[in-house]
Amino acid sequence: MHNIYLYILIMAAVSYLIRVLPLTLIRKEIKNKTIRSFLFYVPYVTLSVMTFPAILESTGSIWSGGFALITGILLAWYGKSLFQVAVFSCLAVFIFELFL
């Protein structure tokens, strides 16, 4: 039988090291144009990949998830705040699943 707290400690330590090493070791601005561009694009790719198709699977049906996706994209496109986009996406699912 393994010690549960040792498990938790390993989870915490590995997670922390992954996050903190780049932040502390890379102190200077990176000059290389390609690396800079790469790091510039990383957040957009990661967030896109994580959003789709996961959003379709996160709700009761792919239709309500798809409805939330379209709602979110439209609201964000027309400049609504982060909070509004998040809340109205949730509401979209709730209402969609209530009626359909």
Partner: protein, 235 residues
């Protein structure tokens, strides 16, 4: 605290609210997974406080449930959380070079998809106090949701859980869509990323990839391709 720092801190607290609510819903389901792995509410809650990673914790709970080795746990967390390594590299460039080591150690505690995304959308160089504001609101939501999930997993009606769980994705969209509207390269990249993500998730050819691995590989490959084809994006 200097006035500017205080303002950034307050803005962070504000922006942390939707994150916290989203976390509450997501970590609630994580709490149910922890309970199924045989953990108590206390154990699951401190795990959430210390680890702050949805996919990572879910992966970790499966190791605990299976009573895997400690080495297996370490490797599992490394793979499931490897995208944070990339995010932290990006984030290191968002910090002013004279940001102290203390700030770097604190920020590193809670680099998550959402907090990273918000921190990157901060205008100009990142003020650490903005991130602290977000963490202070978001991290308790994460821990509380986990705790509630263990204690009362099946009380919330399923349509409420279902609705709450898209909140995180709504937030992601609010981060990526406005820059995509202004910049055609980002717009194209967002569309291609989503298509590639869909294909790799659905095609049997790629079914051997875990979802964490899929995210890492796509991020590296697509960002590298974009960096080579379209260097020097406006920043």
């Amino acid at each position: 605290m200097k006035k500017e720092n205080r303002l950034c801190f307050r803005k962070g607290l504000q922006h942390g609210i939707p994150i916290s609510l989203g976390y509450l819903a997501v970590s609630f389901t994580l709490g149910i997974a922890a309970k199924n792995a045989g953990m108590t509410a206390f154990q699951a809650t401190i795990t959430s406080l210390l680890v702050n990673a949805s996919a990572g914790q879910a992966a970790g709970f499966t190791v605990i449930a299976a009573q895997g080795s400690y080495l297996e746990m370490a490797v599992m967390i490394l793979v499931a959380n490897a995208r944070y390594l990339l995010m932290s590299c990006s984030l290191s460039q968002k910090l002013s070079p004279d940001t102290s080591i203390i700030h770097r150690l604190f920020i590193g505690f809670d680099v998550t998809d959402e907090i990273f995304g918000m921190s990157m959308s901060f205008p100009g160089k990142l003020n650490p106090f903005y991130t602290y504001g977000i963490i202070l609101i978001a991290a308790p939501g994460w821990a509380l949701g986990t705790c509630l999930g263990v204690l009362c997993g099946n009380v919330l009606p399923s349509n409420v859980v279902s609705a709450l769980s898209v909140g995180l994705y709504g937030m992601f969209l609010a981060i990526i869509i406005p820059p995509a509207k202004k910049n055609k390269i980002i717009a194209g990249l967002v569309v291609i990323s989503m298509l590639a993500s869909y294909l790799t998730a659905r095609l049997p050819l790629f079914s051997f990839l875990s979802s964490g691995m899929r995210i890492i590989l796509l991020t590296i490959f697509l960002s590298a391709a974009a960096a080579v084809l379209f260097p020097a994006p406006e920043e």
